[in-house]
């Protein structure tokens, strides 16, 4: 059963996600882009690169300067997601790499991510603006991730008999399947949207921003 969860179920989930992602890319591409008919004032390539890097360079946006803690939260839990996903491959495929030190680092990051997401859930519920702009999908996605981090933390103990261990693989599969149909599909839209943002404003010469 555990074997099935760690391999076949994961591959099935990944295949579904892969198909959904590829379909989504085709779906995006079937919409015609607006084209610029004028010569550019700025550089498209510089602007597109700056546009992608804006999330790594928090000092380039007023919002991330002022809400640096949100940027930190964002960075931490995205690293947490990457770690928890990597672990779901390492455990069945390269168990020898899961040394005690690696496990400890993974657990620390996953634990922090868990708490960060708890903070974000609290904010979504109690901050008037966040509550107003939230839909069931926003709560559900967050909730799913919180549970996932919770079980992932204990699953890292590598106790195959534990309920957390099997739950971790079940949840990972569920998450992978749900992602393309939820707000979490921003993963696939983001590279495109930042590309066009950079291109549009780079064309007009306003991006990358001129520093004050």
């Amino acid at each position: 059963m555990l074997e099935l969860l760690q391999h076949e179920v994961q591959y099935l989930a990944l295949s579904i996600m892969g198909i959904a992602y590829i379909s989504k890319i085709f779906w995006i591409l079937h919409f015609k882009p607006m084209k610029e008919r004028t010569p550019a004032k700025g550089s498209h390539s510089k602007a597109i690169i700056a546009s992608y890097f804006c999330i790594a360079l928090p000092w380039t946006m007023e919002s991330t300067i002022k809400k640096w803690y949100k940027w930190l939260e964002f960075s931490v839990f995205h690293i947490g997601i990457a770690i928890a996903i990597i672990a779901s491959f390492l455990i069945p495929e390269a168990k020898h790499l899961m040394t005690p030190n690696v496990i400890l680092i993974f657990q620390i990051i996953i634990a922090i991510s868990f708490f960060v997401l708890l903070i974000r859930l609290t904010r979504r519920i109690f901050s008037p603006v966040n509550r107003l702009i939230s839909h069931p999908d926003d709560y559900f996605s967050l909730f799913l991730m919180i549970i996932w981090f919770f079980v992932a933390f204990f699953a890292m103990n590598m106790d195959e008999g534990s309920i957390f261990f099997s739950s971790y693989f079940i949840l990972t599969a569920l998450l992978i399947v749900y992602v393309p149909f939820s707000k979490m599909s921003h993963y696939i839209l983001w590279p495109f949207s930042r590309y066009y943002f950079g291109k549009h404003f780079g064309h007009r010469g306003t991006y990358p921003k001129i520093r004050q």
Partner: protein, 580 residues
């Protein structure tokens, strides 16, 4: 079982129109928002009101709900799960109008603060577009768009009036420069520059055109204006009507081709520059064989290449600069105005935040033509007012006529000690050539014949205006109430009226209505000399009736506190043109 909803015809059409408007950039901006709220504090509507419904993501969701319902994969099956919804009634559309027109100036400040790259202005404009197609928009937007469609410019100025005004401006230019060769050429073929302006410069603010004409003359530029296709403004940008956007763009592009100009240059108008230089070629699907510049780019080149010389000691003021959203954030012109102001004034001080991070003047997105939202606009202007106050400047320079209006309104509303000026006017005042100017001579025999009726409820204002006009050779009579004014009209037969709109009892607006609907008084030119009512800013929003013209527009329009030169120039222009 399906719930049967009787959708209104307009709601149905609006949804259909929405579906047709989706392109790649739109679906990305609609789809990628994660509702993180990072953009919330970048919006002046939210900052000023702290109302969660003013958060950019919430406002965008009012349009996004259609995307979620009809395009989102999950939303098609479970719309409520992802915030999808439909429009069912005309009221739904009116509610949307309040959001997309009344709560967003499409300044794009929030877009620059979104880690996902959501262009909220694109979403808002899509919302505006689907409403415009159903005939739903603020009255000012509808009226001005109609003028652009029918007459080819936003102030409904006829070609004759345009040419007469240019002729009058030519006389002013010759006198000011003391040079008979100085002129504003019209329809001159094969020039380097075809210059397009904001019609406000023809109708109400000729000083800015005069300033640029002076600079062009001193730089010995080969330039002309076109008698057709001279309006660089474009209400298609505001209403989301790409067809109007293309039409207005084509009018100016055609004029460049017809006159075989080398380049098209737009005046100090933020949205005009953005629409003409960046958007209209896309809307019109037209590849141009000439370049488009803003006039500040051209003047910067003059200064850099030594074609004109500036003396900053001629402008001894503390000056700051407001970046118009459409010129800066959406247009790419942020350094040229700074370069010019730095060389034109003795004390330049930066405003923070600035450039692409600057706050909107609150009059963007066509807001100045929407009287119904003036109150909200001025409330949200506190953000801009604080920004201005912190500079300690005497003058806020900007490069957009719309911003001039927006800033003037808020300066008055928040009682700031500050004036607004266009960059071009500061540059013209700093022109070294100006030292050779002769003060224009007042020829009393030419002007004493005119009698001006000053209507204002404040005795101080009456005293000031009558003294100013008499010092400049006019005969004056005055009235403090509408009743008195009517008596004076019948008795004295004035040649022109200056009218305050905010008066006790019957408002000046009612009186204006009487003037314009009564055959006896219809022909008397009126210059509105008014301001914002601090108690109720939306009540007599004089600007809104300049745009919403159920009545003919006034011949002149001057903001209080009165700019002497502008008032005298406006009166002189109206009376001379009338006399011709």
């Amino acid at each position: 079982m399906h719930k049967v909803i009787n959708k209104s015809e307009k709601a149905k059409n609006a949804e259909e129109s929405f579906k047709k408007k989706m392109n790649r950039q739109a679906i990305l901006s609609f789809g990628v928002c994660v509702h993180c709220g990072m953009c919330t504090e970048s919006c002046h509507y939210y900052l000023a009101t702290k109302d969660p419904k003013m958060a950019p993501a919430y406002k965008a969701d009012r349009v996004r709900k259609l995307y979620k319902k009809y395009f989102d994969w999950t939303g098609r099956l479970l719309p409520k799960w992802v915030g999808g919804d439909e429009f069912n009634t005309d009221d739904d559309l009116t509610e949307l109008m309040d959001i997309v027109y009344g709560s967003c100036t499409m300044c794009r400040r929030c877009s620059f603060n979104c880690p996902m790259g959501v262009d909220k202005a694109l979403l808002m404009r899509t919302g505006r577009a689907i409403l415009t197609e159903q005939g739903i928009a603020p009255q000012g937007i509808i009226d001005v768009s109609e003028d652009q469609w029918k007459i080819g410019n936003q102030m409904g100025i006829s070609t004759d009036d345009f040419l007469e005004t240019i002729e009058w401006l030519n006389d002013e230019l010759k006198t000011e420069l003391d040079d008979p060769s100085a002129e504003i050429p019209i329809d001159k073929p094969n020039c380097n520059i075809i210059y397009a302006v904001n019609p406000r410069e023809i109708k109400y603010a000729p000083m800015s055109l005069l300033a640029i004409a002076k600079i062009f003359h001193v730089a010995n530029e080969s330039w002309t204006m076109a008698s057709k296709g001279w309006d660089n403004t474009n209400f298609g940008l505001f209403s989301g009507d790409n067809k109007l956007g293309a039409y207005m763009g084509n009018l100016v592009y055609d004029s460049v081709e017809r006159l075989n100009g080398n380049m098209l240059v737009t005046s100090e108008c933020g949205h005009g520059y953005r629409a003409t230089a960046w958007e209209s070629p896309n809307w019109a699907a037209r590849d141009l064989n000439f370049r488009i510049y803003n006039v500040l780019e051209i003047i910067t080149d003059y200064v850099k290449s030594g074609r004109i010389k500036l003396d900053k000691s001629l402008n001894q003021f503390k000056v700051t600069y407001h970046d118009p959203c459409n010129l800066g954030r959406s247009g790419g012109i942020t350094e040229e105005p700074r370069y010019l102001i730095n060389r034109s004034v003795s004390d330049y001080r930066e405003m923070y935040p600035n450039r692409a991070d600057n706050f909107c003047c609150t009059g963007g997105g066509g807001a100045m033509s929407m009287g119904e939202y003036s109150k909200r606009r001025l409330e949200t202007a506190i953000v801009k007012a604080d920004q201005l106050r912190a500079t300690g400047a005497d003058i806020v320079a900007t490069a957009c006529h719309n911003c001039v209006d927006g800033l003037t309104d808020l300066i008055k509303f928040y009682k700031l000690k500050m004036k607004v000026s266009l960059v071009g006017e500061l540059v013209a005042d700093a022109l070294v050539y100006q030292k050779m100017y002769k003060v224009p001579e007042i020829k009393p025999e030419e002007i004493t014949q005119y009698k001006v009726l000053v209507i204002d409820d404040e005795p101080d204002v009456i005293m000031y205006l009558t003294a100013l006009l008499e010092d400049n050779g006019y005969k004056t009579i005055s009235a403090a109430t509408n009743e008195e004014a009517l008596t004076q009209l019948d008795k004295e037969h004035p040649d022109l009226i200056t009218l305050d709109l905010i008066m006790p009892g019957k408002s000046g607006l009612t009186f204006y209505h009487t003037l314009r609907t009564n055959a006896q008084y219809k022909g008397i030119p009126v210059v509105i000399v008014s301001g914002v009512n601090p108690e109720n800013p939306g009540q007599y929003d004089s600007r809104s009736f300049i745009y919403q013209h159920s009545l003919p527009r006034p011949e002149g329009y001057i903001e209080k506190p009165v700019n002497k030169e502008l008032l005298l120039m406006t009166i002189e222009k109206i009376l001379e043109l009338k006399n011709k």
